[in-house]
Structures are given as structure tokens and as C-alpha cells.
């Protein structure tokens, strides 16, 4: 059929482990079931291996609709509860423009322009706003 449009991926998306970080690369068009499966696979892998970060590279994804947007946001929230941080990397400009127009700004989602930048972001120590408040209480 069309040139340059990757075949849909059925089943599992490979999850690669690089030290303390899981790397997932989404390509082309996903079935809804594949996206749900990935969400589950990631949570299980984090819980089993105790990784501290997840990078989801979506540079090969041509559209993010509200379903996939919700899966990404939920995945980020789940990993947060499992003591890991998720960064979505490589969103195409056309996808970002469309998501905002759709009304889906995904405020809780951490993003980076490239996978490399996402890895650097995860290597930085976590700064929480709460620590500032606690310092004021101490004499």
C-alpha cells in the first residue's frame, strides 16, 4: 500500500534494558491492543527489575490520537508509582501541533526532543519542590 507508512505492529513492542533505564521505540501505527500490552509489559518489567527510568521514543509515530495520548500519560503515571520516571522522546512537530489542537496537552508528561536528551534528563537527580518546604521548618 502506501510508501513510508510502517506496517502495524501486533503483539509485543520490544522493551530494551540499558542499565537502569528501559528503552521502548514505537514505530508506525499501533493496534490499541498492542499499546495496552506495552503498558502492562512496562509496569511488570519495572517492578521486576527495579529500573528507575523509562524512555519511550515516538519519533517513528505519525499520529498520536486521544487513545495513544492517554496510554502514554497513564504509563507515565504508573511508572511514577513504581518509583521510576518516564520521558517521551522525539515527538514530531506535526503531532505536537495536532495534540494541542485536539485539546490534549498532557501536562504531566515529561518530554525530550531526542532519546539522548531523554537519557540525560533521567540521569539528573530528582528535585522535588517539597524538600524546600521542609528546610524552612528546621531551626
Amino acid at each position: 500500500m502506501s510508501e513510508g507508512f510502517a506496517r502495524p505492529v501486533a503483539g509485543h513492542v520490544p522493551v530494551l534494558r540499558l542499565g537502569d533505564v528501559l528503552l521502548v521505540t514505537l514505530q508506525g501505527d499501533l493496534y490499541d491492543s498492542t499499546a495496552h500490552q506495552l503498558q502492562q509489559d512496562l509496569s511488570e518489567t519495572i517492578a521486576r527489575n527495579g529500573v528507575t527510568g523509562v524512555v519511550i521514543d515516538i519519533s517513528g509515530v505519525e499520529i498520536v490520537d486521544s487513545f495513544l495520548g492517554r496510554v502514554l500519560a497513564e504509563t507515565a503515571a504508573q511508572t511514577e508509582l513504581l518509583a521510576a520516571r518516564t520521558v517521551v522522546a522525539g515527538m514530531r512537530p506535526a503531532v505536537a501541533i495536532t495534540l494541542v489542537e485536539l485539546g490534549l496537552t498532557l501536562p504531566g508528561l515529561r518530554t525530550a526532543l531526542t532519546t539522548e536528551a531523554a537519557m540525560e534528563l533521567l540521569a539528573q537527580p530528582i528535585v522535588t519542590s517539597r524538600s524546600g518546604g521542609m528546610r524552612e521548618e528546621s531551626p
Binding site: M1, S2, F5, P8, D29, L30, Y31, D32, S33, E62, I63, V64, D65, S66, F67, G69, R70, R92, P93, A94, V95, I97, T98, E101, L102, G103, L104
Partner: protein, 146 residues
Amino acid sequence: MPTAAGVEARLPIRSDMDLVWVRQHVRQAAAQLGFGLVDQTKLVTAASELARNTLVHGGGGLMEASHVTTGGADGLRLAFSDSGPGIPDLDRALSDGYTSGGGLGMGLGGARRLVHDFEVESVPGSGTTVRVTSWVTRPPRQREDV
């Protein structure tokens, strides 16, 4: 010059696999008609939202794609129809944040913002048809005499 072949289609929407075919067809048809990358992305995203509504709320249905023209401009029209329960309160269904299907509630209202023309016909008890059209916007032509 775009031709009808490759644009005109009737695609069933019965499973999440059909959603993939709908997206692929719309992408291909939009590219063939000369839509730019951002407009292609908007159209495919709108089609994905509407096809998912057809599947989830309408219990399945079909999408018809057609090439339309007006005053020399090319457009792509997509009609999503189902014979599901219909939409009882259309104004509410079009407002952001409203959902009855466990989604984010961006489907109908969000899709409307991504296309140029949008119309919904819904009869409670007998089904819903959503028709959207987007037009190829071309950069203004250079004047030849200057």
C-alpha cells in the same frame, strides 16, 4: 492532478485493526490530494477519533472517503456512520471533557477542531453519521507579471 482512485473508499470499522486501516487510508488519500504534513496529521488524527467513536459508541459501522472539489480546491470528505444508539445530547457530546466511553472526552469536540467542516446527524435509537471535510490549502501563487 489527483484522481478519485486511491481516495474513494468504503472501509468497515469493526475492530481496532480496522482503525489502523482507516488511518492508513486517510493518510494515503490526504497525501495524494496534496495535503501538507501537518494537515495530513490533523486529518488522520480526526479520522482516528471518529472511527473509534463509531467502534466504541456505535457498535461498529463504516467510513466512506470521497474526493470533493469547490472552486478549483480539492477536499477530502470522510463520513463515519453507524447504526448504534445515537447521541442523545449532541451539545454535551461536542463539549470537551464529556465522555461516555472511558476516554478523555476529546473525541468529537477535538475532531471538530482538526477539520474545516464538521456535521453530525444523530437519531436516537437508529444511528449516527459524522461527516467531516478538509480542503487543501495551497500557498498563494506568485503573480506572473512581476
